[in-house]
């Protein structure tokens, strides 16, 4: 990193020129906002993310180990409840089916929830210091993304434990695409509602309720094939269901980390009651990748829209933080 690269004015604005300011222009002192403005303050962003990470486990003896214990316990619960007590044999490796989806859904709801609260939580700084305020929801997203790491470790561990895990490059690409969609969408939602939440505090509650409902809208506690089966007379409903970007993202990560753990022999013996089909890839909707790419594009457009909303509200933020 070159010295001075992080100054808001740009690379050559070192203060050696303090007494020769003639070539420095008179500018609006307000920090240049926007995602671009945040990217220019990478060092500050890094410090903020690190602060959030440290603050979460500060004072605890186990520290970062908690971010492994937490998802691991969740996986074991899934395994016992869904794998053993409920539909054993209906859908092979159902716990992985659920957990893989959970990784992405958690990433989304966490960036959304913590992003929405981020500016209010940092109001002491926002009221006194000039900085691009987009930095708070973006830091929240990065913190959530960081916590996805341990969950992925548990997921891969569970996949390996099945003994029949054979990942393929296409599947990994699918999972990556799923991550892309969720990251763009989570950032956009966090960004937009961080600003809206300052204006109308009720949105913290609305977002909380919304993110509680969200996990049920994606095919993870039930397989996608069950949706297809239930609405077999009305394919429009299934089609509509797939408009949900989160459902698409969950299907993509399941393509990478669930279906690849099922051996052909297991697939044949699986019960058909939940619509599971022995032809492995027929358990996903048609044009999975095309849909994924379109969703990625839509999520990118949404992020631009969210930034537009943020910019419109930005000037009012310090006035409304009381």
């Amino acid at each position: 990193m070159t010295p001075g690269a992080e100054t808001p004015e740009g690379a050559d604005a070192t203060v050696a020129v303090r007494h020769d300011l003639d070539h420095v222009p008179l500018v609006d002192p307000a920090a240049k906002g926007g995602l671009v403005g945040v990217l220019r303050r990478r060092y500050l962003l890094k410090l903020m993310v690190r602060r959030e990470l440290r603050a979460r486990y500060i004072g605890s003896k186990m520290g970062l180990a908690w971010s492994y214990i937490n998802p691991f316990t969740r996986f074991l619960t899934f395994y016992f409840v869904f794998g053993i007590i409920l539909g054993r044999g209906q859908v092979p490796h159902f716990a992985i089916h659920l957990f893989a989806g959970m990784v992405l859904v958690n990433l989304f709801t966490e960036s959304f929830n913590s992003g929405t609260r981020s500016i209010l939580q940092n109001k002491a700084v926002v009221q006194k210091m000039p900085l691009p305020r987009e930095i708070f929801p973006i830091a929240s997203m990065l913190v959530s993304l960081y916590h996805t790491g341990p969950q992925l470790v548990i997921l891969v561990g569970a996949c390996l434990a099945t003994g029949s895990f054979s990942p393929d490059p296409v599947g990994l690409l699918a999972a990556l695409l799923g991550f892309g969609i969720v990251i763009l969408l989570g950032t956009g939602m966090g960004l937009m509602f961080a600003a809206i939440n300052v204006m109308y505090r009720d949105w913290t509650r609305v977002v909380q309720i919304f993110t509680q409902v969200l996990p049920f809208t994606a095919p993870m506690m039930y397989p996608y094939t069950l949706v297809e089966k239930r609405f077999s007379g009305f394919p429009e409903i299934t089609h509509f269901y797939l408009f949900n970007p989160l459902a698409e993202a969950v299907l993509l990560i399941q393509r990478g980390f669930w279906i690849t753990t099922i051996s052909p022999a297991d697939a044949k013996t699986a019960g058909a009651e939940w619509g599971f089909k022995p032809g492995l890839h027929t358990n996903f909707p048609d044009h999975l990748f095309e849909r994924g790419l379109i969703m990625l594009g839509a999520a990118a457009v949404f992020l631009v829209f969210a930034q537009w909303v943020f910019t419109r509200l930005d000037d009012k933020i310090p006035d409304r933080l009381v």
Binding site: M1, E6, T7, V15, V27, P29, A30, Y43, K128, D315
Partner: protein, 261 residues
């Protein structure tokens, strides 16, 4: 001379927030009470500051001083009019800006410096100066939540004064420090001023404004009431009135140290 700060016809409107629920709003409407109110914190404020000037910003409580500083620092944007500044701005709007109580003093120094636009390398180079100035000793590596209010303020101030800046803004900075620290701060601010940095200093203490500043701007209910010579400005506010008990007390006790009243 180079213009350092240019404030043109700046007005700032705040809407009063009553924090009402929908039900309360409905009741207020039925009773014919006003639901929304607004007031102008700044009205048509205009002035120019040349590089190296030391401005004392004075005025009674609620006259708009902090709001004006927030505009110059770039935290707020005016409802109408423009604010333009040249170079890097550092300073404090009230004390201990943006400290995270659970993080240590060291971590907060890096964070605060980064917010003010310093790089890691710059902060590394200045770290000993900052830590030395704050003088919180071994507490530097404990969470700032455990600091006394004086230590908290000292840490914030020492980051701000060690940023290489072109404009320095100081608002009520000396309200919490003890006498030795106030002396140190005044000395440091004089150094900053003498090195050619534009100084914007808010104080109610006539003595310290006399000592620090070359020009006084007085705000009255959001309007510039006076802009000019230091002694005349202080006279304009009647802060030099010797019959005033407060002023007398201030002059004999910590007036010369620049305490805030």
């Amino acid at each position: 001379m180079t213009t350092s700060i240019e404030v043109e016809n700046v007005s700032k409107k705040f809407s009063m927030q009553y924090q009402r629920t929908l039900k309360q709003v409905a009741v207020a409407k039925l009773r014919g009470q006003r639901i929304k109110d607004s007031f102008w914190a700044l009205q048509d404020v205009s002035f120019q500051v040349q590089q190296g000037e030391a401005i004392g910003l004075m005025g009674l409580n609620g006259s708009g001083k902090s709001t004006l500083l927030k505009h110059i620092m770039g935290v707020m944007r005016p409802t109408s009019g423009t604010v333009r500044t040249r170079g890097r701005i550092s300073g404090l709007i009230a004390t201990g800006a943006g400290f995270h109580p659970q993080m240590t003093g060291t971590e907060n120094i890096y964070m605060n410096a980064a917010i003010l636009g310093m790089t890691k390398e710059e902060t590394d180079a200045k770290f000993d100066d900052i830590a030395g100035f704050a003088d919180v000793g071994e507490f530097l590596d404990t969470p700032v939540g455990n600091y006394s209010s004086g230590m908290f303020a000292r840490l914030g101030f020492s980051v701000a004064v060690n940023v290489d800046c072109d404009v320095f803004i100081a608002d009520e900075v000396l309200a919490v420090g003890d006498q030795p620290f106030k002396k140190k701060c005044m000395k440091r601010m004089e150094q900053i001023r003498d090195s050619g940095v534009t100084l914007f200093y808010v104080s109610h203490a006539a003595q310290s404004v006399r000592r620090m500043c070359t020009r006084v701007i007085v705000l009255e209910k959001g309007v510039v009431g006076f802009d000019g010579d230091v002694d005349e400005g202080i006279h304009y506010l009647h802060y030099d009135d010797s019959e005033d008990v407060d002023a007398e007390e201030e002059q004999t006790t910590d007036g010369e140290l620049g305490s805030e009243v």
